[in-house]
């Protein structure tokens, strides 16, 4: 398993243009084996794809992370130094005060590693969005003593914690996320339970995110949630609220894995075969705006990683104008098949 990001390894897929070229050519080239995503959604009369009411503002605070997961679409890692400036964070607060969003979603990297994380959470929670999410990789809560009190901090600000845990057993988790990640994740979940997260009646929401640990799609979300709940309770006395299943999209390090393991073509075929026209109506890019560390705007976190900025005259926080942004067409490419396969996929799990 790699210990550095693609960027740190100077890998050709560190360049988003290389990834987009790869997704446009080969099996998706004109006359190729598979239809492009644009061709596919044209058949279901969903083109152009346009935003609905903005509900979720997702802020990527930076790409630094204490883990180097094999499937990471962000290409995050300890060697990534990109980080949102205080000025950009302040700008986000101004926009949040004026906008109608009901969900603020902080992600990374590991957002907790941002030096202004606690300040920002305290300020943003004063604004009072209905659902304030922090996406935590769990192991960060155990990485250093300075993070040990994060469960209490989250509780004080009524944060909705959404945590990655690809499986309820060690082997699959560690193969995807690194040796020792499972045992540290279990300890972190126990810390969160201890302050009330995931416990019945506490009102402290703790959700888990399941990513398949390989070149296959997630199963039924409810069935997997039942398996996770049973196993985590039985083996570690852990409680949580919901499980979100997220399909791995063929970009960044997951794309690297697909190519290296010679699974790319079959995986893409699987995504195309599983295309669900019902999912297209609920894809997250229709109610989400993603903000990068440097203040640019994207339809989703995946488009951010491919540097597909919103197709609008407004592309940066400095020019933020929601009315203009709502008139845009959503940028698509073949990676979008990941969000429309089977029961669909989003940062909030299945969409159908």
């Amino acid at each position: 398993m790699a210990t550095k990001s693609l960027k740190g390894r100077v890998h050709q897929l560190a360049e988003s243009t290389r990834q987009l070229d790869f997704l446009k050519n080969g099996i998706f080239a004109p006359g190729g084996l598979l239809p492009t995503f644009e061709e596919k959604i044209k058949q279901s009369q969903s083109l152009p794809l346009r935003p609905k009411t903005l509900e979720i503002l997702q802020m990527n605070l930076g790409y630094m992370c204490n883990q180097v997961c094999a499937h990471c679409h962000v290409d995050a890692g300890p060697d990534r130094k990109e980080m949102m400036s205080r000025k950009t964070l302040e700008k986000c607060l101004q926009i949040l005060e004026k906008s109608p969003v009901s969900t603020l979603d902080l992600t990374g990297g590991a957002p907790e590693m941002h030096p202004d994380f606690r300040w920002f959470v305290a300020e943003a929670s004063k604004i009072g969005v209905a659902d304030f999410i922090v996406r935590s990789n769990l192991t960060i809560l155990r990485a250093n003593k300075k993070y040990y009190d994060l469960p209490d901090f989250f509780k004080a600000h009524r944060i909705h914690v959404v945590s990655s845990l690809p499986f309820y057993k060690k082997e699959k988790t560690d193969r995807q996320r690194g040796e020792g990640v499972f045992s540290q994740s279990v300890k972190a979940l126990q810390m969160l339970n201890k302050v009330g997260y995931g416990m019945p009646g506490s009102g402290l929401q703790l959700d888990l995110v399941y990513n398949p640990s390989g070149a296959f799609l997630p199963a039924n979300q409810q069935a997997l949630e039942n398996d996770f709940k049973k196993a985590l309770k039985q083996d570690f006395d852990i409680d949580f609220n919901q499980l979100f299943t997220i399909t791995n999209l063929p970009i960044s390090r997951f794309l690297e894995y697909l190519i290296a393991s010679e699974n790319y073509e079959e995986y893409m075929q699987r995504l195309v075969d599983a295309f669900n026209p019902e999912a297209i109506a609920n894809v997250m890019c229709t109610n989400t705006l993603s903000i990068s560390w440097d203040g640019f705007l994207y339809d989703c976190d995946f488009n951010q990683m491919l540097d597909l900025k919103v197709a609008s005259p407004v592309q940066h926080l400095d020019d933020f104008d929601l009315d203009q942004l709502q008139n845009r067409e959503i940028c698509i490419s073949q990676h979008c098949y990941g969000c429309t396969a089977g029961a669909g996929s989003s940062c909030q799990g299945a969409v159908v």
Partner: protein, 111 residues
């Protein structure tokens, strides 16, 4: 002729068996899909049974399909291998239990 009797790409063509017999094909696939729905047994348990049977009947298409199905359902390798040993035990047992017949014939014909 194809270079092998088995082509992995043929798995995707399974539904084509209906082309030459649409009514029977439809009946079969309706039945097949109903069998694997959640019931007294979970779809996950049925997937593991299918994997074991796939090895018993030595169907490479079924082995491919139900290994992938198991992965998607969160079945881990220990569970898959245990299911195979159930198949192996029954298959081996089916041979060995005939040893009783062998022993009976042997004893009957011997002084």
């Amino acid at each position: 002729m194809k270079p092998s009797y088995y082509q992995s790409s043929d798995l995707k063509k399974f539904k084509n068996i209906s082309d030459w017999s649409p009514d029977l094909g439809k009946k079969f696939f309706d039945y097949y899909n109903s069998v694997f729905e959640e019931g007294a047994l979970s779809a996950r348990e049925k997937s593991l049974i299918a994997l074991a049977v796939a090895h018993t009947v030595q169907c490479p298409y079924c082995i491919d399909a139900y290994t992938q199905d198991g992965l998607e359902r969160g079945v881990d390798k220990e569970e898959m291998m245990e299911a195979l040993h159930v198949a192996g035990a029954i298959r081996g047992g089916a041979s060995l239990v005939h040893g009783v017949q062998m022993m009976d014939v042997y004893e009957k014909r011997s002084m």
